[in-house]
Symmetry: C2
Subunit: 315 residues, 2 copies
């Protein structure tokens, strides 16, 4: 728990897809620039889905093109299928994640595909990626959504998550991730499921968790993840797109609170917290009608707060 | 982490002292009755301070008298000094807590007393309690406030907290508690400080933590406490009195979210969560102008949620 932890900002994708406002391209660029300047090293900048479905993310190719110009930044995107992956490769994303819902009911409802159909799609993407020169091949993650429970099915058995993780790795993914899409996870479950999945696919094939704060347990679940060796956590600046008082909201962990917790614990993130807090202003002016969350921003940093990050580390 | 955990409700004291509204006596009684009926086994029902200072708690003696009639309920109160302790004994409280601020600056500002003066007060209370027949002697806790940091002093050295815990036990307290009055605590610090204090005064002399959620880390800090053997956690129904967007607010952990986390983890609290959630209605009608918080209440329980508490355990 003393090494550096990767905080992966997903606001420009998960946050923006969950709100009504459409953020202008220039604001997205400014947001990404400012977070990278604050020391954030991985940002999920968009999703390659039909613009008809998510007009908020219609400019993802341009966002990727811009984000790629920022030195040291890993540019991640979500894709729902092979077509999306082709667009992601075309745009030059460094990392591609395809979500696979552990709840088949959710998968059918959400993308109208069975697990078998989704695994076919994964194999198609792997074939595409393997056809590329090694230097141009993005990292490919299978993201297991509803891994901790489903609003349609309720319990999602851990065995099924483990089996799907194995299938994703067998299909050729570089790694898998676990997503608490519904905010059902608790710390005991996080530890248990991470251990089981790692036991099946190997420690290095599972490094990341995408946790929500829907029931207030987000950071407790992060702590549980840290304690079983997880090194990457997704979060969203200002908790954008998530509001506990709006049913169905995603409720992402707030990046500012996550970074505060880690740095206060002496765990380096490489992120300069005061600079990160200042990025909220970009959100406020770019999507003025949307609620911006966060406990640490509201309360301020403790008097005499010393981050784990050494001065200048984020420069 | 699999035994039963005591959730100690502090809303009628810490919540009500932090809001403007004055809750009528009958509502306080109804609130306490309803929480006890939901399975809550310890409630801090008030504070014996001059009514001029805290008119919200002026009826504490009547509240104690009522709460004492509830079978199996431990009735706790806060006292600032010997005079308050006399009133608490008179009223028949089962547990008395005196706060001692680990930050002497905070102590001087808050109660105009040095550590030495406060320890004298503690000794006076111990003498009073020892003069009582054993069956009528309330449990006496020294509550170390600002134990994790102070808004006036910043860092509060762990060594000082350990020394004060020793002094409280030497002065005759039955136990000590640690309070994150300022919401400065982080999980690593919680583990470290609990271990140090327990190392000095013994495991049984430190069983409880009073944590705040000011910076969103409340439940992560609870998890850290659980992992080092803490068995009692304070919290406030609806997070009453705490609002992250009001500077200086106490920001107590929300009882509903705490109970959800524990029960979801398979840790029994003896509390029936749906019944607990229903108690919020009493708050709403008794102090209609006040904000009632909580993630779990807003999101609802997960589909198919199974509490650790066996059915009927809270009856």
């Amino acid at each position: 728990m003393t090494g550096e932890i990767l905080v992966s900002e997903v606001g420009p994708r998960d946050g923006l897809q969950s709100i009504r406002s459409i953020m202008p391209l220039e604001s997205k660029k400014a947001w990404i620039d400012a977070e990278a300047a604050a020391g954030v090293r991985e940002i999920e900048v968009g999703s390659f889905v039909p613009a008809k479905l998510l007009p908020q993310l219609a400019d993802t190719a341009e966002v990727v093109a811009h984000a790629r110009t920022i030195p040291g930044l890993a540019v991640a995107v979500l894709v729902p299928n092979l077509k999306g992956a082709e667009a992601a490769v075309q745009a030059g994303a460094h990392k591609i994640t395809i979500p696979l819902s552990a709840s088949e009911t959710h998968s059918l409802k959400n993308v109208r595909r069975t697990h078998a159909q989704m695994l076919d799609e994964v194999r198609g993407i792997v074939a595409l990626l393997r056809s590329l020169p090694a230097g141009q091949r993005p990292r490919f993650e299978g993201g297991l959504s509803t891994a901790f429970g489903c609003t349609l099915e309720g319990d999602v058995p851990a065995d099924r998550v483990v089996r799907l993780a194995e299938s994703l790795m067998e299909a050729g993914c570089d790694e898998v991730g676990l997503s608490d899409t519904t905010g059902y996870a608790n710390p005991a479950q996080v530890k248990d499921l991470v251990r089981r999945v790692r036991g099946a696919v190997g420690d290095h094939a599972l490094s990341g968790l995408h946790l929500h704060n829907t029931r207030g347990l987000g950071l407790a679940n992060v702590l549980a993840g840290l304690e079983v060796g997880i090194t990457t956590f997704d979060s969203s600046l200002g908790g954008l797109g998530g509001c506990p008082f709006a049913p169905g909201a995603s409720g992402n962990i707030v990046t500012e609170d996550l970074v505060f917790m880690l740095e206060a614990m002496g765990i380096r993130t490489g992120i300069d917290l005061p600079r990160l807090l200042a990025v909220r202003e970009i959100l406020r002016s770019a999507v003025p009608g949307e609620e911006i969350h966060g406990f640490t921003p509201a309360a301020g940093l403790p008097l005499g707060f010393r981050p784990a990050t050494s001065p200048g580390a984020s420069a």
